[in-house]
């Protein structure tokens, strides 16, 4: 190479710089997320393993290396297994009504309503309320002098115990599940609504011409069309639902002298609450065990979510999804019809139809 004169060198360098710029700056722009994720997300996950493998005191920090002792200790605690059962019980009790309710609400909002935006926003209000605030209100509702308990007493049920929701295991799960349903139904309904809006309106027109009523249309058109969204919602619900904490923690009025830690019999001790009690509760030196719970529980969630995913997909597949052969046949048919009608695309027709149906 010949020695470079100052001028071209500057050009060369700035070109180089601008090449770097193009290559590097996009990464810099997105780096805040990744850096903060690395600091607040990824590092704690990895560090957690380290904690789980050691004796760990809340104040003194790291103690001796104990290998898998913490995991063994946790697996030997009856409370851990109770907490898993409770978590799943609350999850199931919350998931089913949540799904049904949010689908129904979404279906109603999908109709031609007056003041659409008002209704759409109002169903989201429970989600905006602080979880702790709503949990405190609900613990009053289910308390001895709340709305529900006197009703039960009037019906002659659970009269011997003052507020069965704080004592009876199943009822406490129902109460906590109610709080979760209250909080998340509107949120999920909005996601379903978004999916429903994308369902081609001509399908409904066709169904109406075929003589299908509103209910039939809902089950045969709406539900099959939003399957991918349902899978998404169910999966996020699974992950979120298994992590129940706030509601259970605040349920009977926090930890000040009350139980506040999942009930005297661990009636509503969820796994995350158990983790919290171990790491931040009455014991000084249980951080390692809490970390072990975190890992065990993460494993459970992963397994369960995968299971749920395959299950949901299998159900979705076995439903009305056509087989490969019938799909091929259908494709042929469509192509035939298209050719005959000489229509450019179906997409071009849709907007007019949609407009027509919305009028």
């Amino acid at each position: 190479m010949t020695p470079l004169t100052p001028a071209p060198r500057r050009v060369g360098f700035s070109r180089k710089l601008s090449r770097w710029d193009i290559k590097v700056s996009p990464y810099l722009y997105i780096s805040p997320f990744f850096l903060s994720f690395a600091v607040f997300g990824f590092f704690p996950i990895i560090f957690n393993i380290w904690v789980a493998l050691h004796e760990w005191d809340r104040r003194l920090g790291q103690g001796e290396f104990v290998g898998l002792d913490n995991f063994a200790w946790v697996l030997n605690q009856p409370a851990f297994w109770t907490s898993l059962q409770n978590t799943f019980s609350i999850f199931v009790l919350a998931l089913v009504p949540q799904l049904i309710l949010s689908l129904l609400i979404a279906a109603i909002l999908d109709q031609n309503l007056r003041t659409k935006t008002f209704w759409r926003m109002s169903i989201l209000i429970p989600f905006v309320v602080m979880p702790v605030a709503s949990a405190m209100i609900f613990s009053q509702v289910f308390g001895q002098f709340g709305l529900v308990t006197p009703l039960l007493h009037d019906l002659g049920w659970f009269t011997d115990v003052d507020s069965p929701f704080f004592h009876n295991r199943f009822l406490s799960h129902v109460a906590i599940a109610t709080m979760i349903v209250f909080r998340w139904t509107g949120y999920n309904a909005l996601i379903f609504l978004a999916a429903m809006q994308a369902v081609p309106r001509d399908l409904y027109e066709a169904a109406t011409i075929d003589g299908a009523g509103r209910a039939r249309q809902f089950f045969s058109v709406t539900i099959p069309s939003i399957r991918p969204t349902m899978i998404f919602v169910i999966l996020t619900m699974t992950i979120g639902g298994l992590q129940v904490f706030d509601e259970a923690r605040v349920f009977d009025g926090s930890g000040s002298g009350g139980t506040g830690q999942g009930g005297s019999d661990d009636q509503w001790l969820t796994t995350v609450l158990y983790l919290f009690n171990l790491g931040f509760g009455d014991w000084q030196d249980r951080m390692g065990q809490a970390a072990a719970v975190a890992w065990l529980f993460a494993l459970v969630i992963i397994v369960f979510t995968l299971l749920n995913f395959f299950l949901t997909r299998a159900i979705a597949d076995s439903g009305s999804r056509p087989t490969r052969a019938s799909r091929a046949a259908a494709k042929k048919l469509v192509a035939q019809v298209r050719a005959e009608a000489n229509a450019p695309t179906t997409h071009a027709e849709r907007p007019t139809l949609t407009e027509g149906s919305q009028r």
């Binding site: 903060s36 605690q77 001895q144 009025g253 000040s256 002298g257 005297s264 014991w283 030196d285």
Partner: protein, 429 residues
């Protein structure tokens, strides 16, 4: 164009760097020495405004209160702060006796406070010390008493005046047994429960033991299965719970304040600091009184200290504030505001404390009653030994009593399950 793009990259870089470093750049500042503009206090009890104004006037330092809903939430913040080298801590912290040991696990976390001669009862000073270093200035103590609803007693046709009530629960020689038997008698003729929660009474009884769960010499937990003191108490309170003397609603529970308003129970175990809390929750009700004796001779429950975290920027001024807040005069003010019974000798002797009638408790001079109760408790007034595992084991055992209270288990089954839960923890291996 090229310039803007470069600037953009530069800005992104700066933003990123700022984001990363901002997490670590907090702190610093001067240490001790210079007098600061303001100090912060973390507390869950109200501190009289006049007191704070007086401090500001004298020193020129403003005082800000970081107020917590209850001791438990103040405790959580303190725990996390100590665990992260003082992040988020206030300059002065109120610490309750129940979790004092836990906070003092590392004495170096706390400033050693200069001795103040003849201010407190001796045992309060030794409670607030680690070894021979004073780590906390005593605010109040918690002499135990029983508050009762004389309206309910009257309605049940039982003695309602303090002297008659005292006789009803066993007089001078009252024991937990006679107290609970009185409860059985009461629930026989009334729809209300005798006590808000058996577990609260049980906890008071535990506080009367010299060493409840741990060996004072080694600090290790004692095997619960062999702990006959606890088992006897457990059986005593468990059987009372089976007999339905309790409403099963403890302080802090969602139903507790509503239970007062509905007159669901006749008695509440009331350490001095709880008088203010009861007056608040039972606001508008008439007839609540304080009994003049306590089963098994009385004792102490809780009481708090002001302590100064060593990581603070202004430890010197903070120490001054802690000293100011625990002066006998301040203690009298605190008593008048919240009903906390002073741990300061001069304040205890102050007629304002012993003679001021308490409006909520039928104009009884509650300060005088608590003083007499504290005196008659003798050695028990100091409370028993508490090691680092005290709180954890106590929660476990109280949960056992609650299971009986709720009808989920009978007494012997509840004791068995409590022991096996304790064993599963592996504390005594």
């Amino acid at each position: 164009m090229r310039f803007t793009r470069k600037t953009g990259a530069f800005v992104a870089l700066i933003a990123t760097t700022a984001l990363v470093t901002s997490g670590c750049s907090a702190g610093g500042g001067e240490d001790g020495g210079d007098s600061p503009d303001a100090l912060t206090i973390a507390t869950w009890v109200d501190i009289p405004e006049t007191l704070l104004e007086q401090f500001t006037e004298e020193t020129g330092i403003a005082v800000e209160i970081n107020s917590f809903a209850d001791g438990a939430s103040a405790q959580t913040v303190l725990r996390n702060g100590l665990g992260s080298n003082g992040a988020g801590l206030s300059d002065v912290h109120l610490v309750e006796l129940d979790w004092w040991t836990e906070m003092m696990a590392v004495p170096e976390d706390w400033v050693t406070l200069p001795a103040v001669e003849d201010r407190w009862v001796d045992w309060k000073v030794s409670q607030g010390s680690v070894g021979d270093e004073i780590k906390g200035y005593g605010m109040d103590i918690g002499p135990l008493a029983i508050a009762y609803d004389s309206t309910l007693m009257q309605a049940a046709g039982l003695p309602a005046d303090p002297a008659g009530f005292t006789e009803f629960i066993g007089g001078e020689d009252a024991t937990w047994e006679s107290f609970l038997d009185a409860g059985r008698q009461f629930t026989g003729v009334s729809d209300a429960a005798w006590i808000d929660s058996t577990s609260t009474a049980f906890q008071a009884a535990i506080n009367q033991l010299p060493s409840a769960f741990e060996d004072p010499d080694s600090g290790d937990a004692m095997p619960l299965a062999d702990n006959t003191d606890i088992e006897d108490l457990f059986t005593l309170f468990g059987q009372a719970a089976e007999d339905g003397v309790s409403a099963g609603v403890g302080i802090g529970h969602a139903d507790w304040d509503a239970g007062f308003q509905a007159r669901r129970w006749a008695t509440v175990i009331t350490p001095a600091w709880a008088t203010g809390i009861i007056a608040e929750n039972a606001a508008g009700l008439e007839g609540w009184q304080i009994a003049e004796i306590f089963p098994d001779g009385g004792g102490n429950w809780g009481g708090s200290f002001f302590a100064v975290p060593a990581t603070g920027d202004n430890t010197e001024a903070a120490t001054e504030l802690a000293d100011f807040l625990t002066s006998p005069d301040a203690a009298v003010e605190m008593f008048l505001l919240n009903g906390q019974f002073p741990s300061q000798l001069d304040a205890m002797a102050d007629p304002t404390v012993s003679e001021t009638p308490n409006e909520f408790f039928g104009d009884q001079p509650t300060g005088g009653i608590y003083a007499a109760l504290a005196e008659s408790a003798g050695d028990k007034a100091a409370g028993g030994y508490r090691g680092v595992n005290f709180a954890g084991i106590q929660t476990l055992v109280m949960d056992g009593i609650r299971r009986i209270e709720t009808g989920n288990e009978d007494t012997s089954a509840a004791w068995k399950s409590t022991v096996s839960e304790f064993d599963a923890l592996g504390l005594t291996d």
